[in-house]
C-alpha cells in the first residue's frame, strides 16, 4: 500500500520490500510509520498515507438501482456498500395485535406518551419542531410492527475468507443489528411517512397529505371524547414496510460507517408512491404518477464515524507489565506531549489497521439544523482502556467535522 519512499523502516542491511515487511511484522510496520525517528523530520503518518484523524475519500451515488424505491452506492476507500430499499405494504388486518391495541381507540397505542409527558420540560427544544408526544408515537409503530427491516450481507468475494454458501457470519448479523437499533434509537424515519390512511369521503382529499398539526388535534379531540365523529374520519389501513438490504461488495475495514452512510443516502433517495385505501375495492391503491410520489422526511442526518486505537507496545499482551490505573493514566497522558507517544487513535481504520487495533470507538453524531447543536446518537467504546473522557471529547470533535463532510457529500450526490 505504501510506497517504499514513505517507509523509513526497512534498514538498508536487510533488504526487505515494504510490502513483505508489512505482512511479516504488521505491528512494527505501522508503528514505524506512526513514530518516525526524530532525525528523519517526517510527520507521524499511517502506513496508508493518512494522518491519524483523516478519513478515507468518500463518495456516494444514489438512485442507481432502478427497481428499488431508493438506493445508494457508498464508497469509503476500498470498502464499498450498496444499499437498496424496497417498500412493501403491510395491511393492518395482517397485524395480529393491531385490532386489539389500536383500531378500537386511535389514542390508545401509547402508554409511553403518558409516561413521558409529565417530565417533559415546556421550553425544551426537540430536534425538529415536532412535539414529543408524536415522536414517541412514531417510535412505537416502527418498533412494534418492524416497519424497518435492515439486512446486511458480507457477500462472497468482498474479502478473502468469505466462502460462498456460508450462513451469515456473526459479524454480519451483528452489523445488521447495529443498523436496526440505530434506526430505532435515532428515530430517523417518521412513521407518519409510512402510514397509509383511509379517509372517509366527507372530508376533502387534500387533507390526506400533510397532517402534522391536524392529526394531533384530531387525536386530542378524540381523546377528550368530544369529537366522536372526527375519530371515525381517518383510520390507518396499512403501513409501508421498508426492506433495507445492504451488500458490502468490497470489505477493507470499517464496514459499519460505510453501511450506515449507504442506508442514510438510500433513505434520502427513497420515494414512496402516493397510496390510499380504496373502500370500494377494499385494497390499498397506489398512484402511478411519479409526480405524486413523495420523499421520506428524515429526522436529521446522523453520521457515524469509527475509530481504532493502536497501541505502541505490541508486547503488552505478552509481557507482564503494570497497567497504570486510571489516575496514573491521566498523568501519563500529560507527559505524552513531551515524550514518546504510546497510542494513536486512528480514524476510519482500514482492514490492515483493524487487525492491529483491539479497542474500537464508534460515534454517531448529528447536528440540529435550527440551532446547530451537536447531538450524539450513539457512542460505543469497547475492547480496551485507552480512550477515556478526554480522548472521547476529541473524538466527538472529529466526528462533528466528519458530519460536515458527509453532509456535503450526501447533498451533492
Amino acid at each position: 500500500m505504501a510506497s517504499s519512499a514513505t517507509a523509513p523502516t526497512a534498514p538498508p542491511a536487510l533488504s526487505l520490500p515494504p510490502s513483505q515487511f508489512a505482512r511479516l511484522q504488521p505491528h512494527a510496520y505501522l508503528l514505524a510509520h506512526l513514530s518516525p525517528p526524530a532525525s528523519s523530520q517526517q510527520p507521524s503518518i499511517r502506513a496508508n498515507g493518512r494522518a491519524p484523524s483523516q478519513f478515507r475519500i468518500t463518495s456516494a451515488n444514489t438512485g442507481s438501482l432502478t427497481h428499488t424505491n431508493g438506493s445508494a452506492v457508498v464508497r469509503l476507500g476500498d470498502t464499498t456498500a450498496v444499499c437498496g430499499i424496497k417498500a412493501e405494504i403491510l395491511h393492518t388486518e395482517d397485524i395480529a395485535s393491531w385490532s386489539v391495541s389500536h383500531a378500537s381507540s386511535p389514542s390508545a397505542p401509547n402508554k409511553r406518551r403518558k409516561l413521558t409527558n409529565p417530565t417533559e420540560k415546556p421550553g425544551e427544544d426537540r430536534q425538529d419542531g415536532s412535539s414529543q408526544a408524536e415522536d414517541d408515537d412514531d417510535n412505537s409503530y416502527i418498533e412494534d410492527f418492524s416497519l424497518l427491516v435492515p439486512n446486511l450481507s458480507l457477500s462472497t468475494g468482498c474479502a478473502p475468507g468469505f466462502i460462498p454458501g456460508a450462513p451469515p457470519s456473526a459479524h454480519a448479523q451483528s452489523l445488521s443489528h447495529q443498523i436496526l437499533s440505530l434506526l430505532h434509537s435515532s428515530r430517523l424515519v417518521r412513521s407518519e411517512d409510512l402510514q397509509i390512511w383511509y379517509q372517509r369521503p366527507n372530508l376533502g382529499p387534500e387533507e390526506l397529505e400533510r397532517h402534522n398539526e391536524d392529526e394531533q388535534m384530531d387525536v386530542d379531540s378524540a381523546q377528550d371524547g368530544s369529537g366522536g365523529v372526527a375519530s371515525e374520519v381517518r383510520e390507518i389501513k396499512a403501513f409501508w414496510v421498508l426492506y433495507i438490504d445492504i451488500m458490502i461488495i468490497s470489505l477493507a475495514g470499517n464496514p459499519f460507517d460505510v453501511a450506515w452512510t449507504a442506508v442514510l443516502a438510500a433513505l434520502r433517495d427513497t420515494k414512496l408512491p402516493r397510496a390510499w385505501w380504496d373502500a370500494d375495492n377494499e385494497a390499498v391503491v397506489c398512484s402511478d404518477l411519479v409526480s405524486e410520489a413523495r420523499k421520506l422526511s428524515l429526522r436529521g442526518l446522523p453520521v457515524s464515524s469509527s475509530f481504532g486505537v493502536f497501541e505502541a507496545d505490541a508486547a503488552s499482551g505478552w509481557r507482564a507489565v503494570i497497567v497504570p490505573d486510571a489516575e496514573e493514566e491521566r498523568k501519563i497522558a500529560e507527559s505524552d506531549r513531551k515524550g514518546i507517544q504510546r497510542r494513536w487513535v486512528l480514524a476510519d481504520p482500514d482492514g490492515y489497521e483493524e487487525g492491529l487495533a483491539q479497542e474500537r470507538v464508534c460515534l454517531v453524531v448529528d447536528k440540529v439544523q435550527q440551532n446547530g447543536k451537536i447531538v450524539i446518537v450513539k457512542l460505543e467504546k469497547n475492547g480496551g482502556f485507552a480512550v477515556d473522557r478526554k480522548q472521547m471529547k476529541e473524538l466527538v470533535e472529529t466526528s462533528v467535522r466528519r458530519w460536515q463532510d458527509i453532509n456535503q457529500i450526501l447533498k451533492e450526490c
Binding site: T116, E124, Q173, S174, H184, V323, I376, G383, K393
Partner: protein
C-alpha cells in the same frame, strides 16, 4: 429497591458459574464458564499464543437472533481485555462463557440490549472468578437512563428505559479505566460526562472529579458501590469454601 443478588458456583459440573439478579432492572442471568477446554475441529483457527474466547448469550424465551450476536461481540471484546489468555495452559485452548437470560422483560427484535448488559457483564466476571481463570483485573458495570428532562435514572426499569431519551451502559475496571461504553438515544457530550461521573460513583463509590461527584455520592450513600459488591460476593464464597482452613488457623 434492593441491591443486586449474586451467587457463585451454583452449577457443579461447570468449571465456574454464577447467577446474578438485579431487582431494579428485573434482569436475572445464569452463566457458566469452562476453561481451559479444547475447542473441537477448528485447530487452525485458534491463535497459537492466546486463548480463544467464546461467548454465547441465550435469551430466556426466544431463539437467539442478531441481537444476541451483537451483544456476544461486545462481551467478547470487553472480556478479552481482562482475561489473561497467555497464561500457562490457556494458549490454543478456549474460554467458553455461556450466559442464559433467565428472567427479564422480553427483548424484542431490534430493541436495545442495553438494560440487561450490566447483568450479563457481572455474571460473566463472577463466573470467570469462580472458574479461577487468570484475569488482569475485575470490573463492574451499570446502566443509566437519562429522561427527557435531563434527569439521570440509575438502573432503570424496563418502562423507564423505554421512555428515556438516552440509555448508557458503562463498565469500569477495578483500576478505574473506562472498559466499555455503550450509549444510545439522543444526548450531548455534557450529558455523557454527567453520566460518566455518576456511573463512576456507582461502580467505585468515589468520584474522580471533586465538585460534581459529591452530589452523586450523597445520593448513593446507602447503596454499596458495585465494585465492592463483586468483591464481597467473591470473598463470601471463598470464606465459605475455605472455612475449614480459616477456622483451623
Amino acid at each position: 429497591m434492593g441491591g443486586p443478588i449474586a451467587s457463585l458456583h451454583p452449577l457443579s459440573r461447570a468449571d465456574g458459574s454464577a447467577s446474578y439478579k438485579c431487582p431494579a432492572t428485573g434482569s436475572n442471568v445464569l452463566g457458566s464458564v469452562n476453561a481451559p477446554i479444547e475447542l473441537p475441529g477448528r485447530r487452525d483457527a485458534l491463535k497459537p499464543e492466546d486463548a480463544t474466547i467464546e461467548v454465547f448469550v441465550k435469551p430466556g424465551t426466544a431463539p437467539g437472533g442478531v441481537g444476541e450476536r451483537h451483544i456476544e461481540g461486545i462481551l467478547r471484546g470487553a472480556l478479552g481485555r481482562i482475561i489473561l489468555g497467555r497464561e500457562k495452559g490457556y494458549p490454543r485452548r478456549g474460554v467458553v462463557i455461556t450466559l442464559a437470560v433467565v428472567g427479564c422483560d422480553n427483548i424484542a427484535r431490534g430493541s436495545s440490549y442495553l438494560p440487561i448488559l450490566p447483568a450479563l457483564l457481572h455474571t460473566s466476571i463472577l463466573a470467570l472468578l469462580s472458574a479461577s481463570v487468570p484475569l488482569s483485573m475485575t470490573f463492574s458495570a451499570t446502566v443509566l437512563a437519562v429522561d427527557s428532562s435531563g434527569e439521570i435514572v440509575c438502573e432503570p426499569s424496563s418502562t423507564d428505559a423505554a421512555a428515556a431519551a438516552s440509555l448508557h451502559v458503562l463498565a469500569f475496571t477495578s483500576q478505574g479505566h473506562l472498559l466499555l461504553n455503550e450509549s444510545e438515544g439522543r444526548f450531548d457530550f455534557d450529558t455523557w460526562e454527567r453520566v460518566y461521573e455518576r456511573a463512576l460513583a456507582i461502580c467505585h463509590g468515589t468520584s474522580a472529579l471533586g465538585s460534581d461527584g459529591d452530589v452523586a455520592m450523597s445520593e448513593n450513600v446507602d447503596a454499596q458501590p458495585l465494585e465492592g459488591f463483586v468483591r464481597d460476593t467473591v470473598e463470601d464464597h471463598i470464606h465459605r469454601e475455605y472455612a475449614w482452613k480459616i477456622d483451623a488457623a
